[in-house]
C-alpha cells in the first residue's frame, strides 16, 4: 500500500500533522501502536506557563514568554517552530475541533489560571469553553460540587488544597467543597467519570443535579463540577445545568481517564476520518527501508502479521519516553524505529537533578530528537538525516513540557508545521 504522507503515532502531534498534510490534498495514513496521551489528559492546551522555568510566578503573556525564549534558548523546539506556526497551528486546531462541536477558547496573549482536581492552580492558554469560568482571578467565590461514589474527584480535598495555594500577585477567592445529595447509581467500587458522563445525557439525571445545585449554591457563587457534563462535544447538558443552578458553571478535569481528554480525542478522530485520512491503530512501526537518503517505506505489525507501507513523506510523532517513542536501556537512549540518536544526558546518573523539586526540572525531561528548521531530525550533526522525515511533539528535544507547561503548544505547533512541510514536499 502506498500513501503520500505516512504519520507514525496517533497522539495529539500525529493527528495534527495528519490533518495539516491532508489539508494540502495528500493521501494520508496515520499508523500507531496505541492511542496517545491526549485521550487521558486534562484537555487544556498549555503554551508556556513559566519562563524562565524556575520562576514561581506564572507568565501573564505566553507570547512574550515564547519570544524571549526563542531569542535566549535556540535549542528549544519553539525556536525551530516559530511564533507564526504556533499561532496558525492553534487556530487550525481550534477550527478542527469546533467543527466537531468542541469549543476551545484562548489566545497567545494571556494565560488562564485554573484550579485542578487536586487543588493546584495551573496556568494554561487554551481550554474548553466549559472550563472558562474557573479562572481564579475572578472575584466570586466557588462552590465545588461533587458526587458520592464518583472516583477521582473529592471536593473537600480540592477546596482544602486550593486554600493553601498561593500565586504571586493573585488573591484567590474562597472555595468550599460539597457532595451533592444525588444518587448517581454508583455501587461499592465507585463510578468512573466516563460512566457518569454518559449517564449525564439522561434527562432525569440533569433534573436531579440541577435541583441539587440550586439548593446548595449561595448568592454570588460560581460552581465547579467534575468534567462529566456529557461524553461528547455539544453544550446542551452544560447549558441546562447553568439555567437550573442560576449561575455560571465550570468543569474541572478529573484524574485520568478524563472526559475532557476523551472528548478532545474523539473530536480529532472524527475530523481525521472526515478528512479522508486512514487511521490504523494497534500496529507497531519498525524496520524502515532507506533509499538514497530518503525513507522509502516502513513495516507495520500487529502480532505476527506484518505489512509494508510505502510513502513519499513520513512524520515521526511517536511521543517521548511515555509513549515509548524514545527508549532507554542501561547503556543508551534511542529512538527505536530509525535508530536516530537522542540528545540529552547519556548516562543514567545524569538523568536527575540532585533535588527532587529542583525548579529547573530534571535533565531527563529534555531528552529527545534535535531537528532543523524544517523539523527534520539531525542526528548527531547539523544536517538532516533523511530528506523526507519530519518529527514533532513529545519526541522533540530541549523542553520540559510538564515543568514549563508548554506540552500542548509545542505538540500542536510542531505537528501542524511538520504536516504542512510533509504535505508540500
Amino acid at each position: 500500500m502506498k500513501y503520500d504522507t505516512v504519520v507514525i503515532g496517533a497522539g495529539l502531534g500525529g493527528l495534527m500533522a495528519a490533518l495539516s498534510a491532508a489539508e494540502r490534498g495528500k493521501k494520508t495514513l496515520v499508523v500507531s501502536r496505541g492511542m496517545g496521551i491526549i485521550t487521558i489528559f486534562s484537555g487544556t492546551i498549555d503554551i508556556l506557563g513559566y519562563y524562565p522555568v524556575q520562576d514561581t510566578a506564572p507568565l501573564s503573556s505566553p507570547r512574550e514568554g515564547v519570544e524571549r525564549l526563542i531569542s535566549e534558548d535556540p535549542k528549544h523546539p519553539y525556536a525551530r517552530v516559530g511564533v507564526e506556526a504556533l499561532e496558525k497551528g492553534m487556530s487550525f486546531f481550534q477550527e478542527a475541533v469546533a467543527r466537531e462541536g468542541v469549543t476551545y477558547v484562548g489566545n497567545l496573549d494571556r494565560n488562564f489560571l485554573v484550579p485542578t482536581a487536586v487543588g493546584t492552580i495551573k496556568p494554561t492558554a487554551f481550554l474548553s469553553k466549559r472550563m472558562e469560568a474557573g479562572d481564579v482571578r475572578e472575584e466570586s467565590d466557588v462552590l465545588i460540587a461533587g458526587f458520592r461514589g464518583l472516583k477521582d474527584f473529592y471536593p473537600a480535598y480540592m477546596a482544602h488544597n486550593i486554600s493553601t495555594s498561593t500565586v504571586p500577585g493573585v488573591s484567590i477567592p474562597h472555595f468550599r467543597g460539597r457532595v451533592l445529595d444525588v444518587d448517581i447509581g454508583a455501587d461499592g467500587s465507585g463510578m468512573s467519570a466516563l460512566t457518569l458522563a454518559r449517564k449525564m445525557e439522561e434527562d432525569a439525571m440533569i433534573q436531579a443535579i440541577g435541583r441539587a445545585l440550586f439548593c446548595q449554591v449561595r448568592d454570588g457563587e460560581r460552581i465547579a463540577l467534575p468534567a462529566v457534563l456529557g461524553i461528547r462535544g455539544g453544550d446542551e447538558v452544560f447549558r441546562r445545568l447553568e439555567d437550573m443552578a442560576g449561575t455560571r458553571i465550570f468543569e474541572t478535569p478529573t484524574l485520568p481517564p478524563s472526559v475532557t481528554g476523551y472528548r478532545l480525542y474523539r473530536a480529532l478522530e472524527s475530523r481525521v476520518r472526515a478528512s479522508g485520512i486512514r487511521l490504523l491503530i494497534g500496529y507497531d512501526v519498525h524496520d524502515p527501508e532507506i533509499r538514497g537518503g530518503r525513507v522509502a517505506a516502513v513495516n507495520i505489525s500487529m502480532g505476527k502479521k506484518t505489512k509494508r507501507i510505502e510513502g513519499d513523506t513520513f512524520v515521526l510523532a511517536t511521543g517521548g519516553l511515555v509513549g515509548r517513542g524514545i527508549i532507554t536501556d542501561r547503556k543508551s537512549t534511542l529512538e527505536p524505529i530509525f535508530g536516530l540518536p537522542v540528545s540529552g544526558p547519556s548516562r543514567r546518573n545524569e538523568w536527575f537533578a540532585e533535588r527532587f523539586f529542583d525548579p529547573s526540572g530534571h535533565p531527563i525531561n529534555k531528552i529527545g530528537l534535535e531537528v532543523d528548521d524544517r523539523l527534520r531530525p539531525t542526528g548527531d550533526g547539523k544536517k538532516h538525516v533523511y530528506e523526507n522525515l519530519f518529527a514533532c511533539g513529545a519526541e522533540l528535544a530541549g523542553y520540559a513540557a510538564l515543568r514549563e507547561k508548554s506540552g500542548g503548544g509545542v505538540t500542536i505547533a510542531s505537528g501542524f508545521k511538520a504536516g504542512r512541510l510533509a504535505g508540500e514536499l
Binding site: 501502536r33 492511542m35 468512573s192 490504523l280 502479521k305 509513549g323
Partner: protein, 415 residues
C-alpha cells in the same frame, strides 16, 4: 492446557495510563465490569497459572480486543482476560445455557434439514418462555434464521467452475447455514478473477465454544478443521475466509489458546477475502472493470477485523468502484460479541454498547450498512431498519454478477 510462561511479562509494561479503560466498550456502559486494566494486568499479578480469577467480573469482557489495540504499551490484555475466563469456567463449570448457545452449529446442521420448522421453533412462545425462565436467553433478541439450502448443498449441486488457479475457502458455519448467498457471492467474485474455490473439509471454527470457556470442545473442532486446512496449505494454496471471526480463530487462536502449534503453518496462508483480492490488485491481477455503484453507504468495522492486523482491505477495495461512497463509522464494537448479546444478563449491556452504532447508522438514509462480520450484521439489523451486507456483495454488484437473481438471505428475523 499449558500456559505460556511469558504471558505475564507484558503486565509489567503497563504504565497504568487507563487508556484501555477509556476505550473499553463494556466499561462505558456498566460498572459490573471493573475494566481491562484492573481485571487484566492488575489482577494478573495475583494470579498464578490456572488459578481461579479473583473477580468474576471478567465474565463481562466481550473479547472484542479493543483494549489491546489502543494500549500504547502493547499489553495483551484480552489474552489475559480470555485465559482468566477459561480458568473460571474450569473451576466453576459451564452453564447449560452457554453450552447450548455455543453448540448452535450442531443445531444448525439439524435445522437446515427443516429450516422452516427451526425458524418457527425459535419463534414459538414455549421456547421463548423456556429460554427466558430456565436458560436465561434473552427473549427480545433476534435469532439468526436458517436457510433452506445450505452453502455446501449448493456447492455440490451447482458449483462447476474449474481453473488452474485455485484457493481454498473456509466459509464457516454461519455462511453455510444462515447466509449461503455470501458464500455464493465470494465464489462468483473469485471466478470472475479466474480463481476456482476448493473446499477443505470443515466444521464450526470453535470460536463460540472458546468464547464460553470450553477449551476441550473447541480443540476437538479445531483438530477436525486443521486436517483439511493443513493439507491445503501444503499444496501451496491460499486459504480465504469471509468471516473475520472464523479467520481470527483459526489463524491466531488455535495456536494461542488451544495448544495446537501445528496451526502456525497456516498463518501466512490465511487471507481475509478482501485482503486476498487487494493482493491481486497490488499485483496488477484484479479485474477492475467495475460498473459504477451510485450508493452512499456506512461501513462498521468489526472489532475482529481491527485485531487481525491486515488494515482495512474492504475499504481499499471498494475505493476502486466508481461513484461509490463508503464511510467508515466511528464505532469500535457493535456490542453483540458472538454469543454475548444472547444472554439475558448481558443483553442490556449489549444493547447499551450498540447505542453508539445505532446513532451512527441513523446518519444515513439508505437501506444498507456494510460489515465483514455476521454478528455485526445481525446487530445492525437488531438496531436499525437497515440490511447488513458483507462488502463482497457490493463487489458482486459492481461486477454485474447475477445481482437481480441473488438477493442476500435474510441474516435474522423478528420473532
Amino acid at each position: 492446557m499449558t500456559v505460556k510462561t511469558d504471558i505475564r511479562y507484558p503486565t509489567d509494561q503497563c504504565i497504568k495510563c487507563t487508556i484501555c479503560v477509556e476505550h473499553c466498550p463494556v466499561v462505558k456502559v456498566t460498572e459490573k465490569f471493573l475494566g481491562p486494566k484492573q481485571v487484566g494486568p492488575d489482577f494478573q499479578r495475583f494470579r498464578s497459572e490456572g488459578d481461579e480469577p479473583h473477580d468474576a467480573s471478567v465474565e463481562y469482557c466481550t473479547g472484542c480486543r479493543i483494549c489491546d489495540i489502543v494500549c500504547p504499551s502493547g499489553v495483551n490484555i484480552s489474552e489475559l482476560n480470555t485465559r482468566a475466563k477459561i480458568a473460571l469456567r474450569a473451576a466453576r463449570g459451564i452453564p447449560v445455557r452457554d453450552r447450548l448457545l455455543s453448540h448452535a452449529y450442531m443445531f444448525g446442521d439439524l435445522a437446515s434439514f427443516a429450516a422452516p420448522a427451526a425458524n418457527a421453533f425459535l419463534k414459538l412462545r414455549p421456547f421463548r418462555w423456556m429460554s427466558d425462565k430456565i436458560l436465561h436467553l434473552e427473549k427480545d433478541v433476534k435469532y439468526p434464521s436458517y436457510s433452506k439450502q445450505p452453502f455446501e448443498k449448493w456447492i455440490r449441486e451447482s458449483y462447476h467452475f474449474e481453473s488452474d488457479k485455485k484457493v481454498a475457502y473456509f466459509f464457516g458455519c454461519f455462511t453455510n447455514n444462515n447466509d449461503p448467498s455470501l458464500g455464493r457471492a465470494v465464489v462468483r467474485v473469485l471466478e470472475r478473477n479466474g480463481y476456482q474455490a476448493v473446499f477443505p473439509k470443515q466444521d464450526c471454527c470453535g470460536l463460540p465454544l472458546l468464547g464460553n470457556g470450553d477449551v476441550r470442545g473447541a480443540r476437538k473442532l479445531a483438530k477436525k478443521n486443521l486436517e483439511g486446512l493443513l493439507r491445503a496449505a501444503d499444496d501451496g494454496l491460499d486459504i480465504i475466509y469471509s468471516s473475520t471471526s472464523c479467520g481470527m480463530m483459526i489463524r491466531d487462536d488455535y495456536e494461542t489458546y488451544l495448544d495446537l502449534p501445528e496451526a502456525a503453518a497456516l498463518f501466512d496462508r490465511m487471507k481475509e477475502v478482501s485482503e486476498f483480492l487487494w493482493g491481486l490488485y497490488e499485483a496488477g491481477e484484479l479485474d477492475t472493470d467495475f460498473e459504477p455503484v451510485d450508493l452512499s453507504i456506512p461501513y462498521h468495522v468489526p472489532c475482529h477485523l481491527r485485531s487481525l492486523g491486515i488494515g482495512l482491505p474492504a475499504l481499499d477495495l471498494l475505493g476502486l468502484i466508481p461513484e461509490l461512497h463508503v464511510e467508515e463509522l466511528e464505532t469500535y464494537c457493535c456490542g453483540l460479541a458472538g454469543t454475548y448479546g444472547f444472554k439475558s444478563e448481558k443483553y442490556d449491556i449489549s444493547l447499551a454498547i450498540g447505542r453508539e452504532l445505532e446513532r451512527e447508522l441513523g446518519r444515513f438514509d439508505g437501506p444498507y450498512a456494510l460489515s465483514d462480520c455476521e454478528a455485526c450484521r445481525m446487530q445492525i439489523e437488531n438496531l436499525s431498519s437497515k440490511k447488513g451486507l458483507h462488502p463482497i456483495f457490493i463487489l458482486q454488484r459492481a461486477y454485474g454478477l447475477d445481482a437481480a437473481e441473488e438477493e442476500p438471505d435474510t441474516a435474522s428475523e423478528q420473532r
